[in-house]
């Protein structure tokens, strides 16, 4: 123990006690962090919520010019069977001055089917369909206007309505998520 006396070590020289002190506090900090993690993680989506992460939608009953809204992960998803006029308008606006530039082609898998989240990118309200200055969607909360491709054109929202991951599992059926 004589080596730990302050007289033996030079000024500023780390002692055995310094080492023990740092090691003990370090282990304590790691242990505390490990103990805290489960308490944070428990608030993340549980296994049964994650299990609901995909749904299938039957498209056969949706006529041209109709939309359906389905619930996916607790949020509305718009599935719109677009008219030729809407598709033409959306493609024509690809070169317009867009706040969040994206071509109509990049937002659809088949031009007549537009699938996107029905959640305004401003503060999360559900926009109203076939309204607003661009004939697409209009959010009543703070006045954001989306076009027939769901792209933001006017108002406080910063981004286009997001397109969720989905796939055609047959000509008349899609799987979202």
């Amino acid at each position: 123990m004589s080596s730990t006396t302050t007289g033996g070590a030079g000024a500023g020289e780390p002692t055995r006690r310094d080492f023990l002190y740092i090691a003990a506090v370090g282990i304590g900090a790691v242990g505390t962090a490990a103990a805290i993690w489960p308490f944070i993680s428990q608030m993340n989506p549980s296994a049964d919520v994650l299990a609901l992460s995909s749904i299938e939608v039957d498209l056969s009953n949706i006529q041209t010019g109709m939309s359906v809204t389905v619930l996916w992960r607790g949020k509305p998803v718009f599935v719109r069977h677009r008219t030729q006029a809407e598709i033409d308008k959306a493609v024509a606006d690809d070169k317009a001055d867009l706040p969040d530039p994206a071509t109509d082609e990049s937002r659809v898998k088949k031009p007549e089917w537009l699938v996107m989240m029905g959640v305004c990118t401003h503060l999360g309200c559900v926009p109203l369909g076939q309204q607003g200055d661009y004939g697409g969607w209009f959010c009543p909360c703070h006045g954001s206007h989306y076009d027939t491709s769901g792209r933001i054109r006017k108002g406080p929202a910063p981004l286009n309505l997001p397109v969720p991951e989905y796939a055609f599992i047959s000509d008349t059926r899609i799987k979202i998520g």
Binding site: P38, F39, S41, Q42, M43, N44, S46, A47, D48, V49
Partner: protein
């Protein structure tokens, strides 16, 4: 002894809100503590830490639990299977209840051995008993929430205890149930009260600490501290000792949580509650077994209930039933032996309470019940009266340093 702050920001805060001097008074140099406390004095702080663990895990569980008869059982299984670390939260909480009682029972037996209930700490002791009663109510209602068979029938049996009282009994039971049997209204109010009571306990713990700090901790010698030579600052000496004890305790706690999480519970509680079928052998959690044994030892409904409640309420009379002027059993050769007989009686009740009430267990529970009450009502007053205690040291320092004089080193240490 007053706290000296150097940092100007801390000074600015302290001038307006005396947090730092309050902390210093609670656990710092402003709280001189007897220097001879042994490891049995760890259990107070351990109880406080377990209370915090119970509250934190309980708030987490309440985020995922549904207090409804048709959903409660499934929501507990949802916690076990689906919620991230839900199994850990529930096992911590369920075993934490047992740990809380282990720690508090040791804390109480410590107080009994060293006479911590004696003057001037009577109110400190009373608040402790009230905390124990609040803990028991909380634990009982918590056990009902999973809505398994033991939950349902435990709730039925324990609430029916009140039906033993003549005239007022049945209206009280109906009022507790909010109906004519344990059902959804009962489950809802038990959930509400199970959430509320821990915070009542926190308030009581603050009163417990306030009373403790009035005269400071008792100590193994039972001789009050007489000056700075008898004390050391709580921090760092006892904070470090408490932390070391906490480490050892957490290993014990972790054993149950990770290696034997259902040992202290009952398998029947994994069967959903069924009001039509009572489980064959119904027993409470281990920490209620001694009181359950007293209940069943008496062949009379009202008598058993009164004796069971009396077993705790009698603790309020200890400061007057104990006629000895010496606190610590260390200096009481006769009483010390009766103390251990009392401990054995409590263990006997604990064992008998878990057995079917017939034959040897019933006989044992009757013998132990008689001794339990005789210990307080007969042994304590008489032994205190007739016993000749061994001579007490003049001070805490005297047995170590001799003479009880004020050594220069101790004085410097006590006042820094």
């Amino acid at each position: 002894m007053a706290l000296q702050l150097q940092n100007p920001i801390l000074k600015w805060i302290e001038y307006r809100l005396p947090v730092f001097s309050t902390i210093d008074h609670m656990v710092g140099s402003g709280y001189p503590t007897p220097k001879n406390l042994n490891y049995l004095w760890n259990f107070g702080s351990l109880a406080g830490i377990v209370l915090v663990v119970q509250i934190v895990t309980g708030i987490v569980l309440a985020m995922h639990y549904t207090p409804h008869t048709s959903l409660a059982f499934d929501s507990v299984e949802h916690i076990m299977r689906d919620v991230n670390y839900g199994w850990l939260m529930r096992y911590l909480h369920a075993n934490g209840a047992s740990m809380f009682f282990v720690v508090v029972y040791i804390h109480i037996f410590r107080g009994l051995y060293y006479g911590s209930y004696k003057t001037p700490r009577e109110l400190l002791w009373f608040i402790g008993i009230i905390i124990l009663l609040a803990m028991m109510a909380t634990a009982f209602m918590g056990y009902v929430l999973p809505w398994g068979q033991m939950s349902f029938w435990g709730a039925t049996v324990i609430t029916n205890l009140f039906s033993a009282f003549p005239f007022i009994g049945d209206p009280i039971v109906t009022w507790l149930w909010g109906g004519f049997a344990v059902d959804n209204p009962t489950l809802n109010r038990f959930f509400s009260l199970h959430f509320l009571l821990p915070f009542v306990i926190v308030g009581l713990v603050m009163l417990h600490l306030l009373a403790l700090h009035q005269h400071g901790s008792n100590n193994p010698l039972g001789v009050e501290k007489k000056g700075p030579q008898d004390t050391i600052p709580f921090h760092p000496y006892y904070t470090v000792k408490d932390l070391f004890g906490l480490g050892v305790f957490l290993i014990f706690f972790a054993y149950w949580v990770f290696f034997n999480p259902n040992y202290l519970g009952h398998p029947d509680n994994y069967i959903p509650a069924n009001p039509l079928v009572t489980p064959a052998h119904i027993v409470p959690e281990w920490y209620f077994l001694p009181f359950y044994a007293i209940l069943r030892a008496v062949p009379d409904k009202l008598g058993g209930v009164l004796l069971m409640f009396g077993a705790i309420l009698i603790l309020f009379l200890l400061p007057w039933l104990d006629t000895s002027r010496v606190k610590s059993s260390r200096f009481r050769p006769i009483y010390k032996q009766f103390y251990w007989v009392f401990v054995l009686a409590c263990i006997g009740l604990l064992w008998a309470g878990g057995q079917p009430p017939e034959g040897l267990p019933l006989y044992l529970s009757r013998v132990c019940t008689v001794y339990y009450f005789a210990h307080f009502l007969v042994v304590m007053p008489l032994v205190g009266w007739f016993e000749r205690p061994r001579p007490l040291p003049a001070s805490i320092s005297e047995p170590v340093l001799g003479g009880g004089k004020l050594p220069a080193g101790a004085a410097a240490r006590g006042t820094h």
